[in-house]
Amino acid sequence: MDCEHICTIIHVYFDHELSAASDAKFKLHLEHCSDCVADLDACDLVRDSLQRSHIYAHAPALLQRNIRADLRSFAPTTAWSQPLWWYWLAAVAALLFVTILLGRVGHGLRGDDYQAELAGEIVDAHVRSLQPGPLTGIASDDGRIVKGWLDAKLKFAIAVRNFANEGFALQGGRLDVMEGRSVAVLVYERNGHPINVFIWRTREPDTSPRAGSRQGFQWVDWRKGKIEFCAVSDADLVDLEKLHQLISSSA
């Protein structure tokens, strides 16, 4: 055993970190080694000095406050593995969704008995906008890819086209839930304004487009071939009308 090693053992003994067997052995050694006893005294002096001198640095109250302030500034969000783009898209879509539903109530497009169900949807959409879970979505400007992705998840098929040449650039697609049913959402962009087109299956007869606005958002709703479409945006109503024509003629 070298000297350094023996010196170290004294400290391990002092810290009660020796195994029981080694500890007992070292105690026997201490009985006839005054050097080790002196070293233990030294350990004791150091510990005693450090602990009794009150040099432990407690965190200042200001630091405690700053840390709590930092914590509060952390936004309450859930784990997010999707691109940030989808986060905002979800928030905007949920907002638009609520807006359109409120718009419908306001415009009396549906019967009063529809409102209880509608309230549930509004709450759902609201909750989704506050706590966006991992969104199911696909970001692509290729209509076939978006269609393929949506078709695999929906019980109905829809046509998906990129109307970039006409000024409506396809951004992607997403799934949402409305009235307990899966709803497809196509996302276009028109001069920097996102347009969400909600698409779901319906049993109602075809209609010509109905338009409305609510809180600065425009919507155009139409049914064709047992599919209902509702385009929502802060873009100009004329643009939504144009998009309706493009979608209707391509289906």
Partner: protein
Amino acid sequence: MNDLDAENRLRFEQLVLPHVDAAFNLARWLLRSRADAEDVAQEALLRACRFFRGFQGGDVRAWLLQIVRNTCYSWLDKNRPRELMVEFHEELHPQPAATPESMAIADEGRERLTRALETLPPRHRAVLVLRELEGCSYKEIAAITSIPIGTVMSSLSRARRQLHSALVNPGCKELLRGL
């Protein structure tokens, strides 16, 4: 996006915030400055908050102190790189300034002790502070400082001997006993 949701934030507050004192104390002794320790401890807590999702349970104090220690070392490396060199060469042995008179004042004893502790090489200082002021086990110290347990033992042994020899200058022993 590593922000905490409400539930994890509450958990963080309950588990981690009780150890802010320990975080500050370690930072203060590693950086040898209260002002710098405030900044670095706050930064370390923010980092802990970001990493909290990855915390799998277990010894939360050791987990936090490891982050504090790493944050301190990054800070030293950036702001006072020469200090970390001492760790490897151990050239600068503690040389507490002689204070010949007025030894009876406890504040002065504390001053001397502070200076003695601050002149220890960073690794020895960290190990000693964790053991004597924080009461950490060897295993915890090894985890916090990322050094093998055998090195923890030898560092602690050297740190105590260095501090002791700095403290037992004439008149000092009595002073320390009288603290």
